[in-house]
């Protein structure tokens, strides 16, 4: 990898953060825009869970990660501690993968 990729990428990544946080975030929000901003975490977290569980590049697959997500769902529902949820999800995924292979 060359520095001519790394430096522009670092600038772009920081630029995205600054535009959102420093520029767009400068003004207080009101009305419908505030309601939309309040919903952004729910939408983005849910989309991330979906893509990281069922996505494989630009295709969709059903694999061991789905079992990990199912276990996560039960663990969250049972209100298990954060750390326990992560360990259970990883273990369920790893075990499923080991059995399937």
């Amino acid at each position: 990898m060359s520095w001519s990729l790394l430096i522009p990428l670092a600038a772009a990544a920081y630029g995205f953060k600054v535009v959102g946080f420093v520029v767009l975030g400068r003004h207080p929000l009101h009305g419908p825009v505030e309601w939309m901003v309040e919903l952004i975490p729910a939408a983005l977290l849910s989309a991330l869970v979906a893509v990281q569980t069922f996505g494989d590049g630009r295709s969709l697959t059903l694999d061991a990660r789905a079992v990990g997500l199912a276990v996560t769902g039960v663990a969250v529902w049972r209100r298990l501690p954060f750390f326990v949820v992560i360990v259970l999800a990883a273990a369920a995924t790893a075990i499923t993968r080991a059995i399937a292979n």
Binding site: Y14, W35, A47, L48, R58, V76, F82, A89
Partner: protein, 258 residues
Amino acid sequence: MTIAPVDSPDPIPDPTRAGVVLALAVAVVGLTFGVLARSIGITVVQACAMSLLVFTGASQFAVVSVLGGGGSAWAAFGAAALLAARNTLYGPVVSRWFPPGIARRLVIAQLVIDESTGVGAAQHDATRARRGFLVTGIGIFITWNLSTLAGSLLGDEIGDPNRWGLDAVFPASFAVLLAPHLRTVRGRWAAILAAAVALVTTPLVPVGAPILLAALVVVPVAMVGGRHTEGDDPGNGDDTGNGDDTGNGADIDPGGQP
């Protein structure tokens, strides 16, 4: 999808503890980033520079994945930039927790990532949101960079990290942070529609773009739902009167049974 039953409101994760747990979990992932980076010829210095300066895990893995698959630097840049673009959307969310002041904000901006925003937005009031954001953001900045260094020095001693189910760490973390948002009708709609949009568009657009397209669902959901049709949302900066972190009754929507 992980949709918790409506009659069992999820506890809001303690901001400090959630931040520490995430920072430790991210360390394991950072280790694998360092190993993978070295395996495709990225130097130790470059791997560490990337974690310090880019500091967006998804983008960094995209670079390794594209270059490792024989892709061009342009393709790597495009994929990584598209994945980093969502941090722009987090800006206005995080901004509500911090006082104005450009200089300090330019520093804090580097910490605006999925995990820190997620922990903050799961809280009831701005003070706890700010604490959760900072503990998570600073904690991950430290562990991500140290583990990148360790992983890139270790090299290929670990084997395939997915054998240990490490690819389940992020979806599980995000599901935990998503849970408090599912207690409101609008939060549930935003989550369901966003997941649907992300999955439907995954085969159609470049990697990273489905997440951005999914964010568009907040427009119709906010317009239809309005704000005061239900209890306070988690992450609502106005709600400073409630210090307990067990869900309170006002957050349960009686008509929301699926």
